[in-house]
């Protein structure tokens, strides 16, 4: 049963399909903003299908095992988060104490795998990508964790299902002052976690030619792509559960779409930051605000 949950319904397959649709919405909306027609509906799946028939090339001077393993590990860990987050909505019996913290840790693993994999690739551009990703992780994780402390303080719980129950009784956490500040900051951090435009510094298509992904080809790149698609579903739903609950009606799909459109608009209206600017914004701009929101939460606002 657990295997079914992991592989099919809330886990890998369902999230992958939803992620493909979300990715199509993202590409289509981007195209419409730029007055283009945009790709057909099944385009994300065509891309994945194509990547899985391509040849795998492994650079001569790479560390073979790490290079090959890291896409698969990142994909597997994201599937676990999908299962945990999804089961909270489908079958709450499986929830356990502290799953919020487990989820945040598992969501960090794709970034770590990207650092490891691109560092092992033996390509200078890919190493620059790895070092940028490392700095980016260091800078956004601080603000992200600080903001996640706000709902924990407000509810005294570290269990997603209890957070949602609390919000069903008392209204969404984001409706309080500290909650809304923390929610906005986590949305910005989510942009960095997804590697979307103001923070796509490690990928940097135009200057690093794909950066951290430069040496990946075929199925290995496909696993990274699947990870990205799934993250596009999991992260917003995870944040909705924490900040903008409860998720039990059809209205929640609307909430998810609102969050997705916010991501897309942020992506299309911002230039890429330099890594220095990103660290500066996240540490010295957003982190103090996040601390203020914690203080407000302790005061009960």
């Amino acid at each position: 049963m657990i295997l079914f949950y992991y592989l099919v319904f809330p886990g890998f397959l369902a999230t992958f399909i939803l992620g493909g649709i979300a990715s199509w919405i993202e590409r289509k909306l981007t195209a419409r903003i730029q007055a283009r027609v945009g790709p057909p509906f099944l385009q994300p799946f065509y891309d994945i299908r194509k990547l899985f028939i391509k040849e795998v090339t492994i650079p001569e001077n790479s560390v073979r095992s790490i290079f090959m393993a890291s896409p698969i590990i990142s994909f597997a860990s994201v599937s676990i988060v999908a299962t945990i987050v999804g089961l909270n909505l489908v079958n709450p019996n499986y929830s356990f104490n502290g799953d919020l913290i487990v989820c945040v840790y598992l969501l960090l693993i794709p970034s770590l795998c990207l650092i490891l994999g691109s560092g092992a690739a033996g390509n200078p551009l890919s190493s620059i990508g790895a070092s940028r990703e490392m700095k980016l992780v260091l800078s956004y994780e601080l603000a992200f964790w600080t903001c996640l402390a706000v709902p924990m303080i407000k509810t005294n719980e570290i269990r997603l299902i209890s957070l949602m129950e609390f919000q069903a009784q008392n209204g969404a956490i984001a409706s309080s002052l500290s909650g809304i500040i923390a929610f906005i900051i986590t949305i910005i951090c989510m942009q960095a976690k997804l590697g979307k435009v103001p923070f796509d510094i490690p990928e940097a298509e135009t200057e690093l030619a794909g950066g951290a992904y430069i040496e990946y080809s075929g199925p290995l790149l496909g696993f990274f792509k699947i990870t990205q698609y799934m993250m596009l579903v999991i992260l917003p739903v995870f944040l909705l559960q924490i900040f903008w609950g409860p998720i039990n009606s059809w209205v929640s799909i609307l909430k998810y779409l609102v969050l997705l459109v916010v991501i897309i608009l942020l992506e299309n209206t911002n230039p890429r930051l330099k890594i220095k600017q990103a660290v500066k914004t996240l540490w010295f701009g957003l982190f103090p605000v996040a601390v203020v929101s914690i203080i407000l939460a302790v005061l009960g606002l």
């Binding site: 283009r36 057909p40 794909g210």
Partner: protein, 138 residues
Amino acid sequence: MNKGKILSRSIWVFHFCSGSCNNCDIEILDALTPRFDLERFGIKLVGSIKHADCMLVTGMINKKGATRLKFLYDIAPKPLAVVAIGACACSGGIFEPSYYTYGPVDKIIPVDAYIPGCPARPEALIDGIVKVVKKLST
């Protein structure tokens, strides 16, 4: 389903320029702009040859470019389609008698499609890529 058919639904192109006057390169970028919008067909410009399914080569190939072109072709994951764009890449163009020409492209690597023109128009580019797609799917 054969490989070509799967490939033809999502072609990621990589752009290689050796000794071109940059006109063909501008036309390639033109084809990706809102007016022509190649993303309708799933065609996307990528920065790394490792992600690419199709290599667009422009310019008469010079001495330095020839070795790099050969190297890029060798490390690229197959199947890979090669398209020569512009008069120089197809036949050498006005640089054909030059002492520094190591081209045209088909002297160095196998080419799937030739798109002539100086520079090749975006319409011609789209037509050429459609023909590559047809060739791949048979």
